[in-house]
Subunit: 177 residues, 2 copies
Amino acid sequence: MPLSMYDVTVPAFLRAFANLSAILAKAEAHAKATGLDPNVYLQARLASDMLPLTGQIQRAGDTAKGCVVRLGAVENVSFPDTEANFAELDARIAKTADLLRGASASRLNDAEHRKVEMKFRDRTVTFDGRDYVAFYALPNFYFHVTTAYDLLRHKGLEIGKADFIGAFDRPETSAGP
Amino acid sequence: MPLSMYDVTVPAFLRAFANLSAILAKAEAHAKATGLDPNVYLQARLASDMLPLTGQIQRAGDTAKGCVVRLGAVENVSFPDTEANFAELDARIAKTADLLRGASASRLNDAEHRKVEMKFRDRTVTFDGRDYVAFYALPNFYFHVTTAYDLLRHKGLEIGKADFIGAFDRPETSAGP
């Protein structure tokens, strides 16, 4: 069984979200234990024109969701960016993970040459499915997950690379045929 | 032609390194133009126990190199961590990219079930090649590339997501058979 479009996307996204949820739980627990205002974490930014933690998590979620939607593996569901606390961010991650679990593995695997049109600020780019995954979806997804981690490290949360990489078991998926 | 182990690794690594080189060139040019000590960038850290920019680039390089070496696509070459300025970091990226260009696509593609043993601080984990790529090599590679970008953004360099994602053409590779 060769590597598939599904292999490098859905299980990897689910794993990263499980890791991210555990990291956010540590941040929330630390804020509670020390009386820190949770917004010190939630609104933290590395630069004034970069998204805060909340926005990084919303964009990580939408990049994963956009990937399976654009590749025709599941219908889109719009998630408004209204999260204002840890519980709501965790729910956002959970509903994104649910949508990913419902993605069709076979449709993803058939999408290697599907045309994916992406509109950016200054241009529209047409990828085939394979390049879209390797050159856009994965780097952009890990960009936002890493920046969420980096923000919390920068704010002094005691987490390490093991929290980012996570457990090494294959996440459960219940993808349809 | 389905997605392959090669597709999601070597061309993606080369693309990210090309983007990273261009970002470092902007950092160097900005330091020169403003008289800023280049070490303000090179030694920047997001937390006292995280690697500085130089270390993030060394680890990004070694993660990519380790991926093709562990999957049997090329012989290892050891690169000592001696880089102390932008020119040396760029040379480190260039020699890593050269090694990646020499990786065998067919050997990479045959390595989906190759056992990869990784020693971590507290445990040794055995992956198959596919899980190693999807769950370790890609997330860890993008972790270090993103953190390099985040460090420079945090230090005020005027770069944006377009610099991170880069041009949307497929990088030239000259992989052997």
